[in-house]
Symmetry: C2
Subunit: 437 residues, 2 copies
């Protein structure tokens, strides 16, 4: 098996090979689906008792009540105090930058008045209550907590309730510290489908939320999909992806490491380079070979690059941009001179990193924009997680007496055309400005 | 069975009765799910051939190619020309108002530059291609076509492809006329799960779209749910709802007709009045009894009101607003003096109609705001269909050399804390401003 796939857009089989590399089908596991359906029904029916029972069974944590599983604020504060000074400063710097970027995403209520006095507009309000899932154990990323909780608080969400499993009672202090920094309102040491069910349906001890966000394992993802409709959910993420467009002038080691930084997430992660310079591609491949053995997560990186990674020789950077739009990558690095020129050609990408200094890892932690991004080509129709995911809109319609006379005729004509006579008559009553009753 | 349920917030069983009335569980029909899964797989595998076969089987329309099922633009134009003048004027007036309201929803790209030269922002782009489902037969509402297609075109969507079944070859001229007015780009006479599959996966004759919107029957809804992820979809709508808050000073006939205008949609539709004046409630009930026999859709209205409708006596308008927030209705009419005072208390509603002249029917057709609204309490976390549903965002990140030195330290610290060393090293390379290779 070669280190990484090599493609050339001039080959006849290029499209076929590219699409084979990109193909990823999220599979549904019937046994997970069944287990999750049972757990959700049980939580919905028995509430706290069911949550306590599953927490005992799956996390080996015994508690007589949900209150015992609440992680007190004093513990978050203690975790924050106990952090090494550099880590605390880094978390706080990241939180400040994330907050400042997301504040620019806030949408405000607007209205306008028409000449006849009719007022139209849109009222923007935050969600009342949001549930934030934070995985336990090794997949517990404090950066992910910041990226999910801060936009919710910036939106003005009244209560952000975090759930996180603590297998064998082991808590992650960096996650608790991040919760304190992000302004989370409550933290409960529960996880899995039972935590998703408790948040969606509510129990006597856990008020139901309006939306559930945050990453989780296959059980959590299946549970989120099932409660969607009862509550809102964020997108279910696929494997992470990076696409690098490089003109061949960035240090080859930098690009190799950028590809690694995606590949180290997961064996299914995808790292692809598009470059018009064959000599440079060879340099990057050499850098990969040289640097790979030095990486602690070399085994994951190796599998990811061999199965799903690629170095692709393109005719020119215009062609690279066209391919990028076809791939619609989660992360796109444009590591070239004049990156804006190429960014202008990009229609579909979760995040666009421009210039040689903008490594994806800076965006993952602290540049400011969100690191929860659309994967698996969904950037064609969806957006990074943002403040807009925690606000919703209500149309505002205040029709004046004069407005009702104009609009009433139009509405009545169309309603009669659709065979909806009550609609028509309701509009017609308003034509007479109060004398119709 | 009484004409309509009567509740009183002062009764001990009020909450129980209210929640029983509101309860609505969208049921999944296993046979529909199986049929739809088979059709989708078949369309994905066999493309045009499968679509043609199902169109023959379900709509009794035989065609040798998809091209034969394309409804030529000349036919839309002819349908528009043939409309009675008043209907055409009404459709055009509605389209103009819908367009002008939605133009205010457009979001623009923004960026800002930090003191060290780092540029951050968000690029906003329209979706490339959108599929619009328009039901055939009696449920074909031209107003619905306008409400779905116009926001997409205002967003700048390159191609809006409409699909609509034409059972036995019968086309709805008002729908074709609306397509011409709304600026739809292509219309194909196919429907059902096969049309959804063709739009989602693409066939040799139908380019795949990025999002599918528009109402449909249970098969269409199941198909949309299944292709979600491959493409975006709008919300699957539940039964339509109206909640009226009235101070008792609006003509009782008007309120009765407003309740009818919701109830006439569907036996499952829900119409509820909240009022602090018992005498007025009696007047509305009398108006219902008197007016109901005059309605062409009396049978549907009767069933809807008896099973799911209610006249609720409240203590005061503050309590009415609190109940409205709990219900989170699709449509809320505040038929009172000083409606803004009460609208300010409303956090959750799809659309808020203020004042006695603002009947829901005006909003359904031509006030300007969208009539595709969140149902079944989803207004707690979702919004009316809008231009924002046809735009998406990409984060923009251009880190300067100086920025990379500041951000690189923060990112590296956090990445080491999360055990992601390639992330850390990728950031650390940029600390040295180009000399790291």
């Amino acid at each position: 098996m070669s280190l990484i796939n090599r493609l050339d857009t001039r080959s006849d089989d290029f499209r076929t090979r590219l699409h084979a590399l990109l193909a990823f089908e999220a599979s549904e596991d019937a046994s997970i689906e069944r287990a999750v359906a049972d757990i959700l029904l049980d939580v919905r029916t028995r509430g706290d008792g069911a949550v306590l029972e599953y927490t005992h069974r799956f996390d080996r944590v015994q508690a007589a009540s949900i209150r015992e599983l609440d992680i007190p604020r004093a513990d978050w504060a203690a975790a924050l105090e106990a952090l090494p000074r550099e880590q605390r400063a880094a978390l706080e710097a990241a939180a400040d930058r994330i907050r400042s970027y997301h504040e620019r995403q806030r949408t405000e209520t607007w209205t306008y008045t028409e000449p006849d006095g009719t007022v139209l507009g849109q009222k923007v309000t935050p969600l009342d209550r949001v549930g934030l899932y934070v995985p336990g154990g090794k997949a517990a990323y404090p950066s992910s907590l910041l990226m999910n909780a801060i936009p919710a608080k910036v939106a003005g969400v009244g209560e952000v309730v975090m759930v996180t499993p603590t297998p064998d009672g082991v808590r992650n202090p960096m996650v608790l510290a991040a919760a304190a920094i992000a302004g989370v309102d409550r933290a409960i040491a529960i996880g899995g489908a039972q935590a998703v069910g408790a948040l969606a349906y509510g129990t006597p001890s856990i008020a139901p939320v309006d939306k559930i966000v945050g990453p989780g394992n296959a059980y959590v993802a299946a549970a989120k999909r099932r409660v969607y409709g009862t509550v809102g959910i964020d997108m279910i993420a696929g494997p992470s992806e990076i696409l690098v467009i490089c003109d061949g002038n960035t240090p080859a080691d930098w690009i190799a490491m950028d590809l690694f930084s995606q590949a180290e997430h997961d064996e299914l992660a995808q790292a692809i380079l598009l470059c018009p310079d064959a000599g440079y591609i060879a340099q990057v491949e050499a850098a990969i070979a040289r640097l790979l053995p030095t990486m602690p997560r070399a085994q994951i990186i190796r599998t990811s690059l061999a199965n799903r990674g690629a170095l692709i020789l393109v005719r020119d950077l215009e062609e690279a941009c066209a391919i990028a739009n076809d791939i619609a990558p989660e992360h796109l690095e444009i590591s070239t001179a004049e990156p804006e020129r190429w960014a202008d050609l990009i229609r579909h990408a979760g995040a666009i990193f421009m210039g040689t200094h903008s490594s994806e890892s800076l965006g993952d932690y602290c540049a400011g924009p969100n690191h929860v991004l659309p994967t698996s080509r969904t950037a064609r129709f969806s957006s990074p997680l943002g403040v807009y995911d925690f606000q919703k809109r209500s149309s505002l319609i205040k029709v004046s007496g004069a407005g009702a006379r104009t609009l009433g005729r139009v509405a009545a004509t169309l309603a009669h055309g659709e065979g909806l006579q009550a609609h028509a008559r309701s509009a017609e009553y308003r034509l007479d400005d109060g004398s119709a009753s």
